[in-house]
């Protein structure tokens, strides 16, 4: 069974204090790993897809990396507007394979 574990559950940072969010996964052959951002009262918003170990993607202050067992979402010099819940999901190889989501990491950035 595919599993996704995100840590920590919650993270509080001071504005400008860089950190990383972790997503550990077990899957029978990885088709893709996805990061989403979810603001309170809204649906998740797509950030990145990573397909193979060693791959990296960047968007503004966010950089996602992937190994064979985990993914990191690095946040460089965060701002209060980066406060949100960050969701990680994996999709296994195979036709019609569904996403398995982690429980999310709630990030709060204080000014």
């Amino acid at each position: 069974e595919d599993q996704v574990t995100q840590s920590p559950e919650a993270l509080r940072l001071q504005e400008g204090e860089s950190s990383s969010l972790n997503c550990s996964y077990t899957v029978s052959g990885l088709r893709g790993l996805f990061w989403y951002r979810q603001d309170p009262g809204k649906g998740p918003e797509f950030l990145f897809t990573l397909y193979s170990a060693g791959e990296e993607k960047e968007k503004e202050r966010l950089k996602a990396t992937l190994t064979k067992k985990e993914s990191f979402l690095h946040i460089t010099a965060p701002k209060p507007e980066d406060s949100a819940t960050y969701l990680c999901a994996v999709q296994a190889l195979g036709a019609n394979s569904k996403l398995t989501f982690g429980k999310g990491i709630t990030l709060s950035v204080r000014p």
Binding site: G32, E45, F46, N96, L99, G102
Partner: protein, 113 residues
């Protein structure tokens, strides 16, 4: 931008009622999905559809059904609402092979009393 619109932001229903949750997307996406989101459990897939009149069960289909009569509209039906179906319901759509880059609606917070 893709827009996924869910008909209600908040909904309060009684136990035993039949409940319809509606979702419309405006980007001609083939794939549509219904998830529920509960604290401590994350997002769980209820049903999805790859084409009009097609549906497939997700991880937790019990107590739910779906309808997709038109490409842009995907309805979730609670045949007889129960208190354990109180949850945030999220609709999503995608244009690619399946689960790539899902676009989510804002959600419907359903309370069953």
């Amino acid at each position: 931008d893709v827009k996924v619109t869910q008909s209600s932001r908040y909904l309060v229903k009684r136990t035993g009622e039949k409940v319809f949750l509606e979702c419309v997307q405006d980007m001609d996406h083939e794939n549509m999905f219904w998830y529920r989101q509960d604290p401590g459990l994350g997002l769980r897939l209820i049903y999805f559809s790859y084409d009009v009149k097609m549906k497939e069960k997700g991880d937790i289909p019990e107590g739910y059904s779906v309808s997709r009569e038109k490409k842009e509209r995907f309805s979730l039906i609670l045949e007889s609402a129960s208190t354990n179906q109180t949850s945030m319901y999220l609709c999503a759509s995608s244009s690619t092979g399946g689960f790539e880059k899902l676009f989510f609606g804002s959600g419907t917070q359903l309370s069953v009393l």
